[in-house]
Symmetry: C2
Subunit: 377 residues, 2 copies
């Protein structure tokens, strides 16, 4: 299969500029100094434009956690053994993980999707079985996925987003679990932004100094491998590593990067983001891994960016690099580095507050409150 | 009346170190890489130490909004006319202001307290009448309050906190409304931290360039006036302006600064913070004005600091100066500059999430999940 054939077809809808303008006008009438609610004002207008209403109610949110394993884990790049992926999937299924607690607080539907856990047993009850393959190949030695496997993983995410949209979801979150997936994410962020591995590779779940050194080397080896293989043919524009900007990659080149260096859960997230935008459903980006998937999604479909909101800045330093490449400024910065969708879920009450203030505060006219001195003169 | 006689008596209780240690130990057992929930982990332990439980439930929170006017408003230091204070008190009473919307979202009791609105009419129904005086005197020309007025205003805040504690409140927020109160707050922050007016005086509700220049001049005049008057007698250690640190002010000196340069609502907030700590009830600090009141409270009773949590960093640049002087790192930074307690109220769902994660996540043992590689070897 050629990457050229994996074309995305359905267009990404435009946002509703009329609803956005109406929301902006409403903000100027609320009983507060103009601009004094800072980013909450922008947030209300952002959702107005995407939910298509001048004063939208809190959108119905669903959370998907995509889980998969990574062949590169065998190289000792993580603080945890690979078996933890399957163990944590069991924990998600029993409701014991951080994202379960946050989903329950927010009354969000949560679905755990096994896209490729390295286990001989099927996923536990309550986990959706979409296992494409029991973990990727070692990305330092060979492509992590074949084009067919990549297509299947993208399709898993697309199906999940499509089903959520058809259930009436108005806001989507993708979280992930996958031991060693911060190594794959680092490779993708380097490839899509052109940043150097030193600025992008971090400790993930908390690898020690020796592990961090190994992880940096693995990323460099993988990037060099892909760069060496990209010289000829249709993917000539791929320039893994320094100097490559996300805008410079054609969709076929982006697909090749994703297959070479990505992960099954990361590909599912990229497909999820694209399909969500196609259905006019905004997404709340989580952390480091999610943002690597977002870079891939945007390289495939640039229009997806306008449906993405950054929730938080992770403690993993490379996350800031990825967010900057996307031009996104996150709402929270609380030193989180857990993944699972936790940073995004934690942002939901901020969204709720912004929309409640926007919709429920009195206007100057209703309250009989004077505007600013300069305006009243 | 001499400031020396206004001594604070009841001691500030110590935090519960045992509950804090138990919470810290629990954090290490939850199914996540240690430290991966960042500041949410610290937050859970902070509340454990103050609520006296290793895994506390969300504390019952009450919000008080203290309103008063400022004689210095006549000097054109605000973007809004003084009449807006009374108008906004009416808006609070009718539930139309930002803080009403947030209190309702969080299901918090809210009480609006008129400590000194400049109005000939009594406060509207639903507003607590504790009016000490119909606005302060112009702080650039004379002391804003007499010692008796200051005592009365401190007492209003103390009573409010005492009553809330007796109703079972476990977390308190003080918000404020008072046209020109960012001028008084700037004077206090300069006096208590020693920072220069240029670093502390900002646009408040949005004063224009000419107004900002006037505001800076007014603050400088007021600080010079107080410095000139402080040379002799018991308050010799007051050094308003450059070089004075909060630790250097004796309680009598702090009281003099508060009477000279403060506001009735700011004094009420200082009393509120002190009495809250005396009853072992933590407070969630709001923005610029609240933090000026916190500086005064801590100069009067240093032990209050350990009962204070900073909620957000305001867009008013001087707020960062005041927080730094207190050694507090806020949780949110969303460009808010409204006051009323809105930044603090917006932080409540973050507190709720931190405590829910802390209390409800499975432990490694319960979930059968392996710890880190380095620990399992």
């Amino acid at each position: 299969m050629q990457f050229e054939k994996l074309k995305m077809s359905k267009k990404i809808p435009a946002i509703n500029a009329q609803a956005e303008a109406a929301a902006l006008a409403r903000q100027q009438q609320l009983t507060k100094p103009p601009g004094s609610l800072g980013r909450l004002e922008d947030l209300a207008c952002w959702f107005a434009a995407r939910l298509g209403s001048p004063a939208p109610a809190m959108p119905r949110c669903e959370i998907f956690v995509f889980a998969a394993d990574h062949g590169v884990a065998a190289r000792g790049v993580s603080a945890f053994p690979q078996s933890v992926t399957a163990q944590m999937v069991g924990n998600f299924a029993r409701g014991g993980a951080a994202i379960n607690v946050l989903a329950s607080l927010e009354d969000c539907r949560i679905e755990v999707v096994d896209v490729g856990v390295a286990s001989e047993e099927p996923p536990p009850s309550g986990v959706r079985n979409e296992r494409v393959r029991a973990g990727t190949r070692d990305l330092a030695a060979s492509p992590a996925m074949t084009p067919e496997e990549l297509t299947a993983a993208l399709g898993v995410g697309e199906r999940c987003a499509r089903e959520a949209a058809s259930r009436g979801a108005q806001l989507l979150i993708a979280g992930e679990m996958g031991i060693a997936n911060s190594t794959a994410a680092a490779c993708l962020i380097c490839s899509f932004t052109g940043a150097a591995p030193d600025a992008v590779v971090g400790r993930g779940t908390g690898v020690d100094d020796a592990g961090l050194t190994r992880k940096r080397e693995v990323v460099q080896i993988a990037l060099a491998r892909v760069a060496a293989g990209a010289g000829a043919g249709a993917e000539a524009r791929v320039e893994a590593g320094i100097g490559a900007g996300i805008a410079r990659q054609t969709p076929p080149a982006a697909l090749r990067i994703l297959a070479e260096l990505g992960g099954l859960e990361i590909a599912a997230m990229a497909g999820f983001y694209i399909e969500s935008a196609r259905h006019s459903v905004p997404v709340l980006l989580d952390g480091y891994i999610a943002t690597a998937a977002a870079l891939a999604a945007i390289a495939l479909e640039p229009g997806v960016l306008s449906w993405m909101l950054a929730s938080h800045r992770s403690a993993e330093a490379g996350h800031a690099v990825a967010l900057e490449a996307l031009g996104l400024e996150p709402l929270l910065d609380l030193g989180l580095r857990l993944g699972e969708g936790t940073g995004a879920a934690l942002t939901l009450p901020i969204v709720r507050a912004a929309l409640a203030l926007h919709g429920k505060m009195a206007t100057f006219g209703e309250a009989g409150v004077s505007g600013a001195v300069s305006e009243s003169l």
